[in-house]
Symmetry: C2
Subunit: 216 residues, 2 copies
């Protein structure tokens, strides 16, 4: 799923990235009343994780815990944000201004501290020229190369029908985004210069369905 090999540093497993993301978010839920430090054990208990794993994950990205004390919460936040690449805003564009595309464009999830949806793209003449409910402009797909460059977009999201997905993803990669998030149930990529992540919503439903039959 990840395309470009990274020669330099030790690789962080996909699972580890997920845990760190979750951990960073969890920190927001910590009581804010004068809590300066937190131990791996406390975090593990509070958020249902394994203390050893938290320590291992954190040690992996440079020892910055304090023995006998724990981790300084502020340090932890900064460090995680930096490692996860959330320490600055990434511009996101979405190809496919259908219901899902517009829902994502307007959603708080895709417009927070670290991400901002700057444009939607579509081929439908009735949509092009308009805006989403929160004002994200809808442009023609032909504008992709120019817009991605102008906006400095780093991430492209694909919310077109499965048949169009490979073309849309390629257009994004060619336009210069470095990450592609594909919501269509289709195989796209890999591309030399862009990481692809497939999020197949149907698959999630299906993985629930198997439990329905199996359980008793």
């Amino acid at each position: 799923m990840t395309s470009a090999a990274r020669p330099g540093k030790e690789r962080l497993s996909e699972a580890a990235v997920l845990r760190l993301s979750l951990l960073l978010r969890s920190l927001a839920h910590l009581p804010t009343d004068g809590v300066e430090t937190v131990s791996s054990k406390a975090l593990a208990e509070r958020f249902g994780m394994n203390a050893a794993q938290i320590r291992k994950d954190l040690a992996h990205l440079g020892e910055f815990g304090v023995r006998g004390v724990g981790y300084r919460v502020a340090d932890l936040r900064a460090r995680l944000g930096s490692i996860l690449g959330l320490d600055r805003v990434r511009v996101v564009v979405i190809v496919g201004a259908g219901h899902l595309g517009q829902a994502l464009a307007d959603s708080g999830n895709f417009n927070g501290e670290s991400f901002r949806v700057a444009a939607l793209f579509d081929v439908d003449g009735r949509k092009v020229g308009g805006r989403s409910r929160t004002g994200v402009p809808i442009l023609h797909v032909d504008e992709l190369p120019r817009s991605v460059a102008e906006l400095g977009a780093e991430i492209g999201v694909v919310t077109v029908p499965a048949g169009e997905a490979p073309r849309a993803a390629r257009a994004l990669a060619d336009a210069g985004v470095r990450g592609v998030l594909n919501f269509a149930p289709a195989t796209v990529g890999p591309f030399p210069a862009a990481t692809v992540k497939n999020v197949d919503l149907t698959l999630f439903l299906e993985s629930l369905a198997v439990h329905l039959s199996a359980a008793g």
Copy 2:
């Protein structure tokens, strides 16, 4: 369904379920011109998988390959559909009639051979009583227990804001659904009688972001 013939009593790993789902979908892309059987090697090459793993996955759910020949495509389809619980239509309800909820309710992904969205639920009086673009009725959340029973809904999808998610998920579980698909960035469950699957869209963006910083 209670006594469904399940030769392999061992648990299928989450990863295996994913592969089998993908495999079943891949079968649809096979040339249909008189192809009766297919070998693990052929499947592996065509869809970028590992032949041994395909065999192991399939052997796990009862030996039904033919040595020297391969797998009968029709058998394979039927067997996969049955194991994955896709051999009949599951009724889905969605709590949260916002843009994402309505997008999913109307999407082809959630309304196919195996799934059908039968109702949306919300607390907003302006939405309740209306319908989505494709006609899925929007009911008040208070109707959940009655509606889930009447519709025979087995799966509930949560598309409410994070703060409301735990409440919504619990309402679904209490109403009797057996699977919950949670799109909110919040921890819900676990519940004794329902399987929970969290699909945190923010996490996907974040996992792309880490690649953006690392490369260069």
